[in-house]
Symmetry: C2
Amino acid sequence: MSGFRHVVMFMWAEGTTTGQQEEVAARLGELPGVIPEIRGYSLGADAGVNSSSYDFAVVADFADREGYLAYRDHPAHRAVIDHFITPIVASRAAIQYET
Amino acid sequence: MSGFRHVVMFMWAEGTTTGQQEEVAARLGELPGVIPEIRGYSLGADAGVNSSSYDFAVVADFADREGYLAYRDHPAHRAVIDHFITPIVASRAAIQYET
């Protein structure tokens, strides 16, 4: 089934607590119940295999580009970004591609 | 089904040709036929929605950490990295997480 995928990774700033990281995962994990355009949603913290890794990733699937844009700009998503992610981000890497 | 996911993104160096980028995708696309530990393999070039995006991503799924390590260190994978990816990489972001 073809679709549109959004992938993002974050490195957290020094001093970020485990609680803050878990809060991000918990808040993002609520979004599939709120944003119907989300077709698939996978997130996780780095498993620690390679030393140069980012700290946290989200892989989100949508039917099409419009579905992704609905997610990107959804108020519930923006609220998680503004209140829980932005305050602790040191670095961010993202891409969107057709699947 | 639980598993282990590897996600990587690249920014290509200035001057990288479309042909070089397509070669990377084609060579990586052969790996699922060569490395039996690969359970799922998705790759794609940036769709151009957001200006700050990386250029190319791979999302690879394995049964477990050992499956990922078999892929990471497989000679066929290392050959693609050495001959086609490394020469054109400007920036790389990666993470592995349990799914």
